[in-house]
């Protein structure tokens, strides 16, 4: 599958990583909801690391839609809280 790290770029990621990424994502949102900044940053970093480590960058001449898009790497807890909790949240 193709994963984009927003503002950074796209990666081809083995499908096996999908579940792990999904778990981390959900845990990260839980951390955001709990207002636990350290935990959020750690989980989010794990997601980024996973994609950068297991993924291979999509070439500049490849035009593909991403299956998954992660937030920009410098996303703060405050930004995440604004985007991913409260009103307007897309239900699970």
């Amino acid at each position: 599958m193709i994963v984009r790290i927003a503002t950074e770029g796209q990666y081809h990621l083995p499908d096996e990583d999908s579940q792990r990424l999904n778990d981390l994502d959900n845990q990260a949102v839980e951390a955001v909801e709990a207002g636990d900044e350290d935990r959020f940053l750690q989980l989010f970093q794990e997601m980024l690391d996973l994609v950068r480590r297991d993924g291979t960058p999509v070439g500049d001449d490849e035009l593909e839609e991403s299956d998954v898009i992660l937030p920009p790497p410098d996303t703060t807890l405050a930004e995440a809280a604004h985007e991913f909790t409260g009103d307007g949240l897309i239900p699970d």
């Binding site: 927003a6 503002t7 950074e8 001449d61 998954v68 991913f84 699970d92």
Partner: protein, 259 residues
């Protein structure tokens, strides 16, 4: 597709897709978008230049203060050599103020330096991202002219549209950050220009009464220390034994201390 139900990625993807819907025919907007992003990149560069300018002004102020400290120190020595302890004390008090202000300036300059480095890093990343976008743009333009590849085109259009939206997002974040840094650098400069640091110093940096008194106490004892040191160097020793400075704080002696 392997089901990603994670919230962060779902929300972000929805956002990007929303941006994407706004873009109509990518081939028409591609060139415009690229030009636009290049212009925006210039804004980020200008932001860096502004931060550098602020930093330079503060550095000039730093130099002036450093000279001031040296000058006041010399003046205190001269006054003391001529037995004008009152003058020496005033000079040393001013020197204390200047030194405190200098410390605060050092911090500001260091902060601006960090900001500058961050902005430069951002600018470089943006530049390489734009370069990537330029390549993708050429690819899709080439595909558009090959009319038979209709299906591939719409897929590619989504891909490039996403890229366009992502470049836009990267640019927007860099700009927000640049604006914030530029504003802070400007504010530091204005504060300095308005002499707010001076006022703060005279009020004691916190401005409340306890802060002020504490500040006066510490700067007073620093002045006493300086004075004692200078006297010792000038061989006028009236200095109490080390460690006993506290005893006579109010009237660090103008004459000899009675034996």
């Amino acid at each position: 597709m392997a089901g990603m139900g994670g919230r962060m990625s779902t929300v972000i993807k929805a956002k990007i897709n929303k941006l994407l819907d706004k873009a109509e025919d990518p081939s028409e907007t591609l060139e415009y978008s690229y030009q636009k992003q290049m212009e925006l990149l210039q804004n980020v560069k200008k932001g860096i230049a502004d931060v550098v300018t602020s930093k330079k002004r503060l550095q000039l102020q730093q130099q002036k203060l450093e000279q001031q400290v040296v000058k006041l120190d010399t003046q205190a020595r001269q006054a003391l050599a001529q037995n004008r302890e009152d003058l020496a004390r005033t000079a040393l008090e001013r020197k204390q103020f200047a030194q405190t202000e200098l410390q605060s300036l050092d911090q500001q300059v260091a902060e601006l330096e960090t900001q500058q480095a961050q902005l430069i890093d951002k600018e470089q990343k943006l530049r390489s991202k734009l370069e990537q976008f330029r390549t993708k743009k050429e690819v899709i333009k080439a595909q558009y002219s090959a009319a038979e590849a209709q299906v591939k085109i719409s897929e590619a259009a989504t891909g490039v549209g996403e890229e366009m939206a992502d470049v836009g997002l990267a640019m927007q974040r860099a700009q927000d950050k640049t604006e914030a840094m530029r504003a802070r650098a400007g504010a530091m400069e204005e504060l300095e220009a308005a002499g707010a640091f001076d006022d703060n110093l005279q009020l004691g940096s916190g401005g409340d009464d306890i802060d002020r008194q504490l500040h006066e106490l510490t700067s007073q004892s620093a002045v006493d220390d300086d004075l004692a040191k200078m006297k010792a160097e000038l061989g006028q020793s009236s200095a109490p034994e080390p460690g006993q400075l506290g005893a006579g704080e109010e009237s660090a002696p103008s004459g000899e201390r009675p034996a």
